[in-house]
Chain length 143, copies 4
């Protein structure tokens, strides 16, 4: 699903920004974006390019560990969370704190409800990639 | 409840570390700790001491906004969350990511369940301040 | 000189990364790079895109003030300092600390000497843009 | 000299804040302060307390490498540089950028001149610890 999301982001001509590592959702989304000719940015936690996804075009090396999550969400126009590991939860929460719009993709009922209670109108639950992409389009037009 | 928690932390001779601002849980906990003769550290988001709680002894001025949440949780031996605003949610998530023990105080059922699912054994739900303090004691001894 | 440097970086097909603001060397270099069809990244100090150079393609919004200088130097393959304000001095020093190669362009004798004493072989003094570009080429080939 | 500086800071009842590691100037100053009964804060670069000076009372764990230098200088009322490694140079420059007063202790002529040119009135050169302490007293009274 992350790969498909990245792919459709790339096809739309948007820049994909992720945490930049060579694993999980970050890597799949970046590879998806590259497959569609998109441009990818990776905000890396380490102090060099170690463990970077091969599908990242522009590595930003922060040397700040998970404090870089705050940069991830401030830098994006829209935040899409795919899955719900602890790192992702911190990013969704930081995004809500920063008044960013958040799209939750592939979250279970309890996680969706938790964040909808926390963020109200800022949170949109997308049941598939196409609905997430439609929501991004809508948000970018409003801005 | 935050004031009472701070007070008992101060009485125990532990250092209280908060986000340092003059509002909400941070301020109440810091004032509680000072009332009991404790030492308080405040990790401030701004680039000066503007809006600092008057009950902070040692201000750490980060100039990093909510990225300072990552410092809050790395610096503590134990993380206690009191209430569940977006900033607190980000800190609990970052704490779990960093393998820290987290105590949830004053969380509603859904928030408690959400984080227990996410963090398993790392998460302890305390129904009152006394139980939170007992858990901190236990964790500090194990370390 | 910053404009010319950016222009030659863009022409070489390299990505230009600066502090991203709409003033001074950052802005001039970014505009130079765009004039040559280059790609520009701006690591912004603020928590939004306020005061961003119009010539930045990819804004990274850090919300970290001058702590973002550490990201600037870790993210680059080569660091070029053009002029010597306090922000630039901090970046050159952080670059030396991180074992990065630094090229000093347009520095007065005392500043050049100071940094050559501090950084030894890591520091290269370029008397004009062409020599700086030649040095970058050389460093990128060695890597 | 760092030990003596820390010792006199501790004796004056001021809080000593350093980079917190168990080496060089940071460690010597912290040990000096403890010898005089002072309170010491250490802003650590790593993501745990590894390599912390044993003379640090309050460790702040940033996980941010040398980006933590920006926190060091924002948190202090006065910045004292003792010696001139690359890390220290970055801190003096960041301090000047943040409009902090800086005292240079134990710098050679060229380094002193370089920073006096850069910072003007913000920079005070102290030829010994007693003069540095006198200058700190003066600056704290003005505030």
């Amino acid at each position: 699903m992350a790969w498909e999301l990245g792919s459709q982001i790339g096809r739309a001509g948007w820049v994909l920004l992720t945490g930049g590592r060579n694993q999980g959702v970050m890597d799949a989304a970046s590879r998806g974006a590259k497959s569609a000719g998109g441009l990818t940015v990776g905000i890396l936690p380490g102090s060099d390019r170690h463990a970077m996804s091969a599908a990242v075009d522009i590595p930003i090396v922060t040397g700040m560990g998970n404090a870089r999550n705050a940069i991830n969400i401030l830098s994006g126009d829209v935040v899409v969370a795919c899955g719900m590991g602890a790192g992702t939860v911190s990013e969704v929460a930081l995004a809500l704190k920063a008044n960013k719009s958040v799209i939750l993709l592939n979250c279970d009922d309890k996680a969706c409800t938790f964040f909808q209670n926390l963020g109200g109108e800022q949170v949109f639950v997308a049941t598939d990639v196409t609905k997430a992409i439609a929501r991004i389009s809508q948000l970018l037009q409003v801005d």
